[in-house]
């Protein structure tokens, strides 16, 4: 039982620290909020560990309150992020660095803020599923006209488009 508490506390401390590091370094607004949720995970783990150590339900009750606050925080932050996105059309938090105090230096170095070098793509596309099977060619549709009994063949050239 001796070392049983400390290792959970160590994992909780490491999760909290990693969340803090993500919150400080990431520039995507959504990932900053997710890093804050990671810090909440570390705190929840610590609370549950202390509750078990003291043989009471208080730690688990506190963790349920943390869950409530996390759900509220996610909803409010998402609506705030959407409102900011409507104004700037980007999720970059650096676009809002003009809100700082006027005598403070900019929060990032200039060489990190400028555009990417030409050999580096500005946008890394999301992965897409590779299309399976053979690509259908121009298909032939046969239908019979009931009025005169003749069979007509219609060739259509609309190929299914695959977006890259």
């Amino acid at each position: 039982m001796t070392g049983d508490v400390e290792r959970y506390l160590a994992v909780g401390a490491a999760l909290f620290t990693l969340g803090a590091l993500g919150f400080l370094t990431r520039r995507n607004l959504i990932l900053m909020v997710l890093s804050a949720e990671l810090m909440l995970h570390g705190v929840s783990l610590t609370l549950v560990t202390f509750g078990r150590m003291h043989h009471s339900f208080e730690g688990q009750a506190f963790t349920i309150f943390i869950l409530t606050v996390a759900a509220c925080e996610a909803g409010l932050s998402l609506s705030l992020i959407l409102a900011l996105y409507q104004k700037s059309k980007s999720l970059d938090v650096e676009l809002w660095s003009e809100l700082r105090e006027p005598d403070l230096p900019p929060p990032m170095a200039e060489e990190d803020r400028e555009d990417p070098s030409p050999e580096e793509p500005a946008i890394i596309h999301y992965p897409r599923l590779t299309p399976a099977g053979i690509q259908p060619g121009p298909r032939e549709t046969r239908f019979s006209d009931d009025a005169n009994g003749a069979t007509t063949t219609v060739r259509s050239n609309d190929q299914p488009t695959i977006h890259h």
Partner: protein
Amino acid sequence: MDWFITNWMLVSGLLLSALGLWLLLPRAGGRLTLFGAAIALVGLVQLVSTLHSANWTAGDSKLTETILFSVFSLVALVSAVLMITNRNPVYAALWFALVTLSTCGLFLLQSAPFLAAATIIVYAGAIVVTFVFVIMLAQQSGSTICDQRSRQPLAATIASFVLLGALLSTIHTWQGQQLAHKTEPTVTAANPLSRLAADEPIGTLRGLGRSLFGDYLFATEMAGTLLLIASIGAIAMAPRRAEGRL
């Protein structure tokens, strides 16, 4: 200075982990991904061995719990590192879901099954899905330049690992002074319904409900009100079209 000499294992493990994480953070140009991951892993192994040799020798009697704890905590930490260093925000959100699942495994090991279920439902079921939805709504083409640069990586790494060192050394030294009789509650006057009965196992749903709706009844009501107010505020703050219709 003597503290650094006596705890050089802990300090060097922290330094190695910090260096590996700093190398892993997204920046301009190529990243030394494999090198950084190797250094961070070496630092993690050194930290674990430092803390393990002092503290965790009693884990042999409960081998299953030790193995499960190792698996869950390793998955949680590695996924957290991958989440904060990934250049693609969708992958980062999915790694966060994996962190949530591993944390729920740790909750189960701590005999908190209701918390594990509630955390999976709230986080992995609601929060991560909504965040991925917003990411796909906002960045439809892919990850932009703001995901491929970190903001002050060196200063942030130093600050967070100073915090981690303080926390770990506190846990490390606190171990000798912990309560000798952990089964006896220290304070019995406050929150009597949250205490365990004599032969009651911890983690039962009945006891948790007794604590929530007995000792913390007003706090529970306040939490419900907070949820209501937060949902009203989110609806009020959400952007809408100029015509006034959603």
